[in-house]
């Protein structure tokens, strides 16, 4: 099963996510149409595009929160089909951060981080606690470990959500508009955490409209529209001289 990853992508050997000819429909609406994307180990990709362009759907397909209707997705050598064992082994390696944080409101910050490592990875309470505190320290929120999510600001909650995902020691992190639900003054603290994570070599796929972040961190910017990848390239050239009309229009709108 593992060696199915040998479906080597066009360019390199170190691909960790391979998406081929991906199709996704919601009823009659085609959310993704023939999407191909390869993510190399350690690569940072920023997905951008107008709302409804399918970028969130794409990353939600990567850990099978949305089921795809056609094409293939291979994550870390495992192809995502319907088998639950495959799905869960992929989800163990893929961390996800949501726009609306989705912390567990009835658990304290540190318990939020401990739950999955204990239940899924089989860590003892003490081990899970130690790992959780280590990662909470990293996102600089260890002082609030015993508080409940509702007692934290949005930025703090999102940093806890990042720590919670990291506690599973994933190989890839997916970010689904992590700063879109935040007050402006809290965006930076979350982005700083993401930049720090990128600096440590984490493979990241981020759906975001934070173009400053994209410029600073991304190896590649992927622009999507109407369910397809329209253009991709290095951030410098993408922002300076987008090749397609649609990307140009989009950039004009968000940069004012």
């Amino acid at each position: 099963m593992r060696q199915q990853g040998a479906v080597s992508p066009s360019d390199g050997t170190s691909a960790i996510v391979v998406v081929e000819k991906l199709m996704k429909r919601f009823g009659r609406f085609t959310a993704l149409n023939d999407v191909n994307l390869t993510v190399a180990k350690g690569e940072k990709i920023v997905l951008c595009g107008p709302s409804g362009s399918g970028k969130s759907t794409l990353i939600r397909c990567i850990n099978h929160i949305e089921k795809h209707d056609g094409g293939r997705i291979v994550v870390d050598g495992v192809e995502l089909m319907d088998r639950m064992a495959d799905i869960n082994s992929v989800r163990c390696e893929v961390g996800m951060v949501f726009q609306s944080f989705n912390l567990f409101p009835h658990l304290s910050v540190v318990e939020n981080c401990m739950l999955a490592p204990m239940k899924v990875r089989g860590l003892s309470r003490a081990e899970a606690h130690e790992r959780a505190m280590g990662l909470l320290r990293k996102v600089r929120i260890d002082g609030q470990a015993d508080k409940y999510p509702a007692q934290l600001s949005g930025g703090q909650q999102q940093r806890v959500a990042i720590a919670r995902a990291l506690c599973m020691q994933p190989k890839i992190m997916l970010f689904d508009e992590p700063t879109s639900a935040l007050d402006p003054e809290m965006v930076k603290e979350v982005l700083d955490t993401m930049v720090q994570l990128a600096g440590e070599g984490m493979t990241m796929v981020c759906v975001t409209h934070e173009m400053g972040f994209a410029r600073e961190v991304a190896d590649r910017v992927v622009f999507m529209d109407q369910g397809s990848i329209v253009e991709e390239g290095e951030p410098a050239s993408f922002f300076r001289a987008p090749r397609t009309e649609r990307a140009r229009g989009f950039l004009n709108q968000i940069i004012h």
């Binding site: 949501f98 409101p105 739950l115 239940k119 509702a150 007692q151 995902a165 599973m168």
Partner: protein, 231 residues
Amino acid sequence: MNSLDFSILVQAWPYLWSGLLFSLALTVAAFVVGMLLGTCFALVQHFELPVVSQIVRSYIALIRSIPLILVLFWFFFLVPIVLGHLYGNGRPIPIGATWTAFITFGLFEAAYYSEIIRVGLRAVNKGQFEACQALALSTFDTYRCVILPQVIRVASPIILSQTIILFQDTSLVYVLSLTDLLGAASKLAQLNGRLVEMYLVVAMVYLAISSAASQCVASLRRRYALGGAHR
């Protein structure tokens, strides 16, 4: 009747006490059975399990459309006949009034608790399920550690009021000639003729227990308010 005489309470108290204990035992047992079974019923419907969920849904609709007192009668007369056909030569096997009461109340309350929990399940934010999926939690752990604790917390006031109603409904066991708190009081009242005193006292006991239960839940909610069900 122009002067109230509560001195008869002294001799009445042991009998009232045994009636109260029966009411409480029946309430606790029906609560435990009802919540466990009700949660299963709610989950069956939530998962939309084929066939089973239709059966559960019809069961709940049936139970909820029939007065409890009638269900008690049914169980008392029908279950022995059914048991007789299953395990014997067709002669009814009586299960006794006490068993009838415990089984009936448990099954009856399950229908009501299950509706409460089913609605609670629908109220949990979709993002909670997605976060569990993203963390690779099993379905079992998702419900046990994340979803159900939140449902119980949101639904606790409704669960409590249902339980208070249950506590009061235990008085219906008089149709099975069982003696609960109210039954004890009314039997004594007929003996000693002190109707007003007896009914005043039981009313006070019901009031005290029900309001203590409300207070208890209110303080629980305050304690959990910080980690409240709403973000």
